[in-house]
């Protein structure tokens, strides 16, 4: 790509740029090479994560779950819709919005997908509606273990009263919430995911 555009965000494994295309602003998320690992491994990881991210975004688009629209996928980059709004982690949320976030995760699971990194840093509130982003760690296969971890990551990121509201939305919308909620308890008992406070 000739015009790299302006940098919107730089994460641990990808950069997100804003570029002009089709007469509007769209986003490009590029997984850049890591020089500490050999090229064979580096290429294959970046390809795999780019592929899973585009597949999941496409699936969610087709299932009508709120996520950015996918425009195109390259080998190491995806091109998708720029949402206008704020990250959930930077917003103050009422109980209605928390419930909607729970419903969003339920819809993702109903579509046969576990997100893998479902935290307030990967939800954008746009015009009063939550959208999900960032599918590099997602799986198109929803075992109750993976879905339980989605719940757990959210639980660890918000207060207990917020999580309660979130769960109201989840339980109402999920096709089969019981085994996932049971799994959440089981994972917590295992205690491996105890203390993960960063920052």
């Amino acid at each position: 790509m000739k015009n790299k555009g302006s940098l919107l965000s730089e994460g641990a494994e990808a950069k997100v740029f804003i570029v002009k295309a089709f007469g509007m602003e769209i986003l490009v998320k590029s997984r850049l090479p890591k020089d500490y690992r050999i090229k064979e491994i580096d290429d294959s990881i970046r390809k795999r994560r780019t592929k899973i991210e585009s597949r999941v975004m496409y699936r969610l688009n087709r299932a009508g779950v709120r996520a950015p629209r996918l425009f195109a996928a390259g080998v190491f980059s995806i091109y998708y819709e720029k949402l206008d709004g704020k990250l959930m982690k930077d917003s103050s949320l009422g109980s209605k919005m928390l419930k909607k976030c729970g419903m969003l995760l339920a819809e993702i699971h109903n579509a046969g997908i576990s997100h893998g990194d479902f935290t307030p840093a990967n939800i954008i509130i746009s015009h009063g509606t939550p959208y999900v982003i960032d599918f590099g760690l997602s799986e198109v296969r929803n075992s109750s273990e993976e879905m339980g971890i989605d719940l757990l990551l959210m639980k660890r990121s918000v207060s207990s009263s917020m999580f309660k509201k979130f769960m109201e939305g989840y339980a109402e919308t999920a096709r089969n919430p019981k085994p996932v909620i049971d799994k959440l308890e089981e994972i917590e008992k295992r205690g491996r995911y105890q203390i993960r406070t960063l920052g």
Partner: protein, 323 residues
């Protein structure tokens, strides 16, 4: 304060002497691994036979007498019960005879602390990689403790490498066999599993063993190292960037591997962060690091009454106070 430290959590019986944060002696004897791996009872017997010898050697290397000792430290855990018992017994015996205080040290804290201090780092991400453990650690809270911010979801990387070496018929000299063979190998694809800041090694191990009949051992050694080390580096990179830390160090037995150190250094320096590892004698299990932490603990009043100086096979790092 002149302190002796005793380490016996696994295949090494070590005794170190420390005073004012300086290691005056660091002696050890190792149980020689056979193809059957480690049988805790046998290892413990070897430790019992070596204990007096190793302790005596450390005393004379440091040029000190028993009556000079002001404190004793030992590894309380984690580790293999029968092995840990030998160290605990040695420590109690010395303490009782001399009437001095005992510090019960967490093995992982000792690895992390000796490296952090030698590297002059205040608040690093510690990549702790040994036989049974593989964790990303970071100091937090008051009193300070090492919190686990990422870790293996199944087995430790050292055990993975040793099991692999044994499985393809190599003599597993604690990882170094794999490292040597890897030098002349090239890449074959193996599973790579990172979940956020956690990682897992069994899928990789199973696949590598499956390929033993069709691929050369050099290629498999190369690939299992490149794959597992890349996973560790990626998790450490995420931990570093998410926590905003600008120091990374590596400690524990697998930190002796040159390739792992090179990869972590590249990763850290690529982000303008500092990287460090301790000299290898402190990455392998050793008594010096136990003496080092014990001295600080005793100086700050963290001692354990002799009747409570037992062992904890599953002593989690995040429950131990860092002096």
């Amino acid at each position: 304060m002149l302190v002796i430290g005793i380490e016996s959590s696994a295949h090494t019986f070590g005794a170190g002497i420390c005073e004012g944060g300086k290691i005056l002696a660091n002696e050890k004897e190792m149980y020689h691994i056979s193809t059957s791996g480690m049988i805790p009872g046998r290892v413990a017997e070897t430790h019992i036979r070596n204990a007096a010898l190793v302790i005596g050697r450390a005393m004379s290397k440091a040029n000190v007498k028993f009556s000079d000792l002001e404190g004793v430290g030992y590894t309380m855990g984690p580790g293999m019960g029968p092995c840990l018992q030998v160290g605990a017994l040695s420590a109690r015996t010395i303490a009782r005879r001399l009437g001095i205080k005992i510090a019960a040290v967490n093995h992982c804290v000792a690895h992390a602390e000796i490296t952090r201090n030698m590297a002059h780092m205040s608040d690093p991400i510690v990549v702790y990689v040994s036989g049974g453990n593989s964790q990303l650690l970071r100091l937090q809270g008051s009193p300070r403790r090492y919190h686990v911010i990422g870790e293996t979801l199944d087995i430790g990387i050292g055990n993975m490498l040793d099991t692999f070496a044994r499985g393809i018929g190599l003599d597993p000299a604690w990882g170094s066999t794999v490292e040597k063979k890897a030098m002349s190998g090239s890449y074959v694809e193996l599973p790579y599993t990172v979940k956020g800041m956690d990682f897992s090694f069994t899928g990789l191990l199973t696949k590598a063993l499956e390929l033993a009949n069709t691929e050369s051992s050099e290629d498999l050694c190369y690939s299992i190292q490149e794959t597992s080390f890349s996973m560790l580096c990626e998790a450490a990179e995420r931990a570093m960037l998410l926590s905003g830390k600008d120091e990374v160090c590596v400690s524990g037995g697998v930190a002796q591997n040159t390739r792992l150190r090179e990869m972590l250094r590249k990763m850290a320096e690529g982000h303008g962060s500092r990287f460090a590892a301790a000299p290898n004698e402190f990455n392998a299990d050793n008594g010096g690091m136990i003496a080092f932490v014990a001295e600080r603990m005793l100086e700050k009043g963290y001692y354990t009454p002799i009747e409570n100086c037992t062992v904890k096979q599953r002593y989690r790092v995040n429950t131990a106070v860092v002096p």
